[in-house]
């Protein structure tokens, strides 16, 4: 069995499962946020009764992050609904806006708060819930109805996916990041190339990546249609988890004779920085092919692009320079926002580097990754051409359906911010 099949078998109380099996699994963690939390709560109450209790208050995690800093009263009402529900159910893991506990982007917050644990099973009402698979666990995005069922019973009905395995061999060159690896894969297999399947990542280049960079790989499994993304855990993961939780966990590994739908090997030393052109994450081109394309805006943020490692990479390029187009910096979490002040490059904080370069620095949240209310920080409103570290560029994703969004690594975005045209980071990296 693959690592995914073994985790699912364990949570179904079975010795074995095979791809295609429909099984009921016991969920370890249910995550919801401010967009899908309120309708999930509505369905939960409709189906289980006005006075129903969640199946396990320790296992329900609620993280408002999508539409936080807006005057939109409907969006603010969503947060009020979460707040009232957390109080009513006495939920210990609610991260309220406007308090010390507020975190920011849910997928990063789950990691920072120790909810991602090897061998476990986590579901969430967000398609990028597959991010947590970087910790060697099964994680997938579900809808409100499924989430309401989990909220009441702790159980989810799901089909065991086949696994597609992607092995990245070689030592990662300094001009490549996890975003380049995953955009290459998505370009190869297409936006529906992994539908109903799990994506497993392996190889020297993957295990060289820091924990948060690995999350960029698993995060974008959904952009290929994948049900989940996963990386077998190593010591780096165990250290990260042990530093954040005392909860026990049991790592799982695939069998040597596990069967894969696909087995594809990449040599990272021969790969180039890539972008996804408008309007699909699988519309891949080498940066060298589209270099010189005029831009209006650069955006560095989101669950795939707003991590400390992403800002460190961008700062390497922006230090001592000035951007020539509107450039937005959005840390994924409040913890990362603080790290921008405490992390330095040649004695200068990342925050100062960005500020001196002329960037606009926003508050921790999803911000314009998915458009949102009209007053959202960094949102597009017209026909802007944007280069962004976010994970999705379908029409209208960042707000305006007339806008064009290129997806790229933080290195490529930062290099492009300096020139106003798409720029290969190899031309500016020293």
């Amino acid at each position: 069995m693959t690592i995914t099949e073994k985790i699912l078998a364990r949570h179904a109380g079975r010795d074995r499962v095979a791809p295609g099996d429909n099984i009921w699994v016991e969920v370890d963690v249910l995550m919801t946020h401010d967009v899908c939390g309120p309708p999930t709560i509505e369905i939960f109450k409709r189906e289980f009764g006005e006075h129903a209790r969640v199946w396990d208050r320790e296992k329900v995690v609620i993280i408002p992050d999508h539409y936080i800093f807006t005057k939109n009263h409907h969006a603010n009402r969503n947060v009020e609904i979460l707040r009232a529900f957390a109080a009513e159910q006495d939920l210990p893991h609610y991260y309220d806006v406007g308090t010390e506990r507020y975190k920011g982007v849910c997928h990063m917050a789950l990691a920072e708060e120790g909810f991602n644990r090897p061998g476990s099973l986590l579901v969430g009402t967000d398609s990028h819930t597959c991010t947590s698979g970087a910790f060697g666990m099964f994680s997938t995005g579900i809808g409100n109805t499924d989430a309401a069922l989990v909220m009441g019973t702790g159980k989810l009905w799901l089909k065991v996916p086949e696994t597609m395995k992607f092995v990245f061999e070689g030592s990662l060159p300094p001009y490549l990041m996890a975003k380049d690896l995953i955009l290459t894969v998505i370009g190869d297999i297409g936006c529906d190339g992994a539908t109903y399947r799990a994506l497993e990542f392996d190889g020297e280049a993957v295990y060289d990546l820091p924990v948060h960079e690995r999350m960029t790989l698993t995060n974008m499994a959904i952009e290929a249609g994948g049900k989940s993304g996963i990386i077998a855990p190593d010591e780096k993961i165990f250290e990260y988890v042990r530093a954040r939780t005392d909860a026990p966990f049991e790592p799982v590994y695939g069998d040597p004779d596990a069967r894969y739908h696909t087995f594809r090997v990449y040599d990272v030393t021969t790969m180039e920085p890539v972008v996804a052109k408008p309007h699909s994450p699988d519309n891949r081109a080498a940066v060298s092919e589209v270099a010189g394309t005029r831009l209006d805006r650069a955006y560095i943020g989101s669950c795939t692009g707003g991590k400390l490692e992403d800002f460190e990479a961008a700062a390497r390029i922006l230090k001592g320079e000035e951007v020539v187009i509107d450039t937005f910096i959005v840390p994924a979490t409040t913890h990362i926002a603080r790290q921008l002040h405490t992390t330095t490059l040649d004695g200068v904080s990342l925050y100062e580097i960005f500020e001196r370069a002329g960037c606009q620095i926003g508050k921790a949240s999803c911000a314009a990754c998915l458009g949102g209310p009209v007053d959202t920080f960094g949102r597009t409103h017209g026909s802007e051409v944007v280069i962004s570290t976010t994970n999705r560029n379908f029409p209208g994703r960042m707000g305006s359906k007339q806008a064009s969004v290129y997806l790229a690594s933080p290195l490529t975005v930062a290099a492009s911010a300096l020139t106003g045209v798409i720029t290969d980071p190899r031309t500016v990296l020293v």
């Binding site: 809808g143 109805t145 209208g396």
Partner: protein, 187 residues
């Protein structure tokens, strides 16, 4: 699930993602408040770029301006319909507009699951590419028992893929009813 689903077709292309089905800025209305939930119907498929709306004509909105329901009951689409976000608002919005079925070449997993689990609409898979063979406004009739799609405007008939296991959930009206009937949760 109706035995015969009949109505006008609304045709779109490939990879219609959930942001096109219901743009993120509209995900703030209550799904249970009757006055507010109507806005999901008003904005259903409003994120599709104008040239892709109501193919092959283009610039044809799914829901007319200032209306809350759509004259089109059946959406015909290409591959990977519903890719992107996990938002259940997407099948909900289509249903709220009056859409009873989608016929697509293929679906993204979460959309398909949400459409079935919530009992919002029937997500049929076509056995061939239909987006160039059916035009927006054609009168379609789906026989859900036999699994055929008849285009009454052109006289053509197409086979649909069997619904398989999900037919039971759709007949029950969603995953909660199904789970109760199966004794998986208390009735």
């Amino acid at each position: 699930m109706e035995a015969i689903i009949k109505g006008q077709a609304y045709v779109v292309g490939d990879a219609i993602d959930t942001d096109q089905i219901i743009p993120a800025q509209h995900l703030v209305y209550s799904l249970s408040d009757p006055e507010e939930r109507r806005f999901y119907g008003r904005y259903a498929l409003s994120g599709v770029p104008p040239e892709g709306q109501g193919l092959p004509f283009g610039h044809r909105p799914f829901t007319p301006p200032d209306a809350f329901t759509s004259p089109y009951r059946i959406v015909v689409a290409g591959s990977n319909f519903g890719c992107g976000s996990s938002r259940e608002h997407a099948p909900f919005a289509l249903a709220e507009a009056g859409c009873a079925a989608v016929v697509a070449e293929s679906y993204a997993r979460i959309f398909y699951r949400n459409a079935v689990g919530g009992g919002f609409l029937v997500p049929f898979e076509s056995t061939e590419r239909l987006v160039e063979r059916i035009r927006t406004g054609d009168i379609l009739s789906i026989d859900t028992q036999v699994g055929t799609l008849a285009n009454e405007t052109t006289g053509e008939t197409f086979l649909l893929k069997p619904l398989g296991d999900v037919a039971d959930i759709l007949r029950a009206g969603g995953i909660f009813n199904y789970a109760r009937q199966a004794g998986l949760i208390p009735a």
